[in-house]
């Protein structure tokens, strides 16, 4: 029975996740290179200066998030419907176009060709294939789902994520028209409208898959049909659409944008309150389910959601934002969200999906445990070092004494060292966690069946032979 339920094929959605994992490791290596450039001024300046390394890092990790989010949604969509995807060919084309585009994008940075936007940027021509591949994703999703009646909340979230990503991605290229580009304030207003909502879009995809996974672990579908699930979804959608203005409180743009954003962001207090209210139940579940590897990442992400949301809500108050804006506290928030929440949730999804039993996982459990704890502890140190550096920069920004920028950067040096070392440990932790997963997939791919399904540690896929 288990043999039937477990798909040993390396399907295209799985390839999305495997490629994403490789991009995560690559992206973190670029991040460490950038970290070294903070510590050793002029390091690689002639060949790979910081303006090249930063987009290499950012695009690699953003594509990790997007790839794994697509792979997760495409796999779970098939498990949810109990049917194969509408067009496996479209997924393969989507995958091929994405891989080709990413390769060209990463090479273009090395060659000094940029889009020059803050923060996710590449040449506008390279946005075209990505947008087209995304349209294929949308078509496949809509045709595969069939009827949208009585669907659980995660289907709503996937559809929202796919549609809004496409919209915000296209919106982020409005700058190519002089009408939007000519004035820096206009340009930045529209840019942060799109980028602010784009993050919400990929969050919708990831959170949707995470809710599906939680249903699977708890073996119950009541949660994803419940009223509270939809209230949280509507709150998320409301924030995705209207809270982007908190990025530009200090920009001399329309005041109403800031007021709307401030008010909307405060609705996140409801989510925060619910996390605190449910804390006891969460801990009890964690104790029960902690042996399940997927669940461990969900539990870690839960803690990071609390911490990141706390910081996000504080930063959404303009009076607080004026201190934190432009400092490393913003970076700490981004790292908490992209690593602590997005990456941990995606690793939970990856561990659930890449669950083939070509090789028993038992020999790797020790390595996994070490990697898991190393990643969590080093991420906390990494986050604290950024918050600390941010506090010093905030004091510098507000000080009446005009201390030179370079002197302030020297003061931050101990925190940059801590940031680099913890970043290195974080990478090591992730490699220890990812290594057995990818190795298992390669074993499946090359059909190196060692022993027959010795042990099943993960949840089986529901549909045999899905794409």
């Amino acid at each position: 029975m288990m043999e039937l339920l477990n798909s040993k094929q390396v399907t295209t959605p799985k390839l999305f996740i495997i490629a994403g994992l490789l991009l995560l490791v690559t992206g973190m290596l670029w991040g460490l290179t950038g970290g070294l450039q903070y510590l050793v001024p002029g390091f690689l300046k002639q060949y790979l200066s910081f303006e090249k390394v930063r987009p290499l890092h950012v695009s690699s990790v953003v594509f990790w998030i997007i790839f794994a989010a697509m792979g997760g949604a495409l796999t779970y969509l098939q498990q949810h419907t109990g049917r194969k995807i509408y067009s496996p060919l479209l997924i393969r084309i989507q995958f091929g176009v994405f891989i080709f585009s990413i390769m060209v994008i990463l090479i273009s940075y090395c060659a000094g060709v940029f889009g020059g936007r803050e923060y996710w940027e590449f040449h506008p021509l390279l946005a075209l294939p990505i947008a087209l591949a995304w349209v294929l994703f949308l078509v496949n999703f809509i045709r595969s789902i069939g009827s949208f009646k009585k669907q659980p909340v995660y289907v709503w979230m996937w559809l929202t994520g796919i549609v809004f990503f496409l919209f915000t991605f296209l919106e982020s290229y409005l700058w190519i028209f002089p009408y939007f580009r000519n004035n820096v304030v206009n340009d930045m207003t529209v840019q942060w409208k799109s980028y602010g909502s784009m993050v919400g879009s990929w969050n919708m995809l990831i959170y949707g898959s995470s809710i599906y996974l939680m249903d699977k672990i708890s073996n119950s579908k009541t949660g994803s049909h419940s009223k509270i699930a939809f209230i949280l979804y509507f709150t998320g959608l409301f924030n995705l659409m209207f809270n982007w203005g908190h990025h530009i409180y200090t920009l001399p743009t329309h005041a109403y944008i800031k007021h709307i954003s401030y008010a909307v962001s405060m609705t996140e207090l409801f989510i925060l309150g619910r996390i605190i209210f449910k804390w006891g139940a969460t801990l009890a579940t964690a104790k029960k389910q902690f042996h399940k590897l997927s669940y461990r990442f969900l539990a870690a992400a839960d803690a990071w959601i609390f911490l990141t949301l706390l910081l996000a809500i504080a930063m959404s108050i303009p009076a607080v934002n004026v201190y934190t804006h432009g400092t490393h506290i913003t970076v700490a928030h981004t790292m908490g969200a992209t690593i602590g929440i997005n990456s941990f949730l995606l690793l939970a999804i990856a561990f659930d999906i890449l669950n083939d039993t070509c090789q028993p996982f038992e020999p790797y459990k020790k390595i996994f445990n070490r990697g898991y704890w190393l990643a969590n502890v080093s991420l906390l140190i990494f986050w604290i070092s950024l918050v600390s550096a941010g506090i010093i920069k905030a004091k510098w920004q507000m000080s009446e004494q005009r201390i030179p920028f370079s002197s302030m950067m020297l003061q931050l040096r101990p925190y940059f060292i801590l940031f680099f070392v913890s970043g290195l440990l974080l990478l090591m932790g992730f490699i220890l966690v990812i290594y057995p997963l990818v190795k298992n997939q390669l074993a499946c791919y090359f059909k190196k069946k060692t022993k027959e399904n010795k042990q099943i540690l993960f949840y089986p896929s529901a549909v045999p032979g899905t794409e």
Binding site: G115, K149, V184, H254, P318
Partner: protein, 133 residues
């Protein structure tokens, strides 16, 4: 439980408000009717071409390796900026910019400087948590 009808109504209302909000913003951007000199436009293209945002911030948004450049023109003056653009620093590469490119970047920085103040010390904090520039 929400009924299917209720869910669709809520999402439709949100999407409609979002669409109206987006379109009205596109049609009434914060700064209107100011034509920019070709040098400013060229400067902005160069700013993006050399990916200056990777290291520098504008209104606190951008990289953290170099300083915020929103008001560098009025704070430091063109000669100071020119020296950096010509030679680079220990961290910043020398991009071997041509004189015309340097002038275009200066024009862009001057234009940016005129849009407002980015220094957080100049903001007034109100009791309701909002800020005024």
């Amino acid at each position: 439980m929400f009924s299917e009808r209720q869910k669709i109504i809520i999402v439709t209302i949100l999407v409609t408000i979002f669409t109206v909000y987006s379109i009205s913003l596109y049609l009434s951007l914060p700064v209107k009717g100011k034509t920019v000199a070709p040098a400013v436009s060229k400067g902005k293209t160069l700013w993006q071409q050399y990916n200056c945002n990777a290291c520098h911030q504008v209104y606190g948004l951008g990289g953290y390796l170099g300083p915020d450049l929103t008001n560098v023109f009025s704070l430091k003056g063109p000669a100071y900026i020119k020296a950096f653009l010509k030679n680079g620093t220990a961290t910043m590469p020398n991009f071997h910019l041509k004189e015309q490119e340097i002038n275009s970047l200066l024009a862009y920085l001057q234009n940016m400087d005129a849009t407002g103040k980015a220094d957080p010390r100049t903001f007034l904090i109100s009791n309701d948590g909002t800020i005024k520039q």
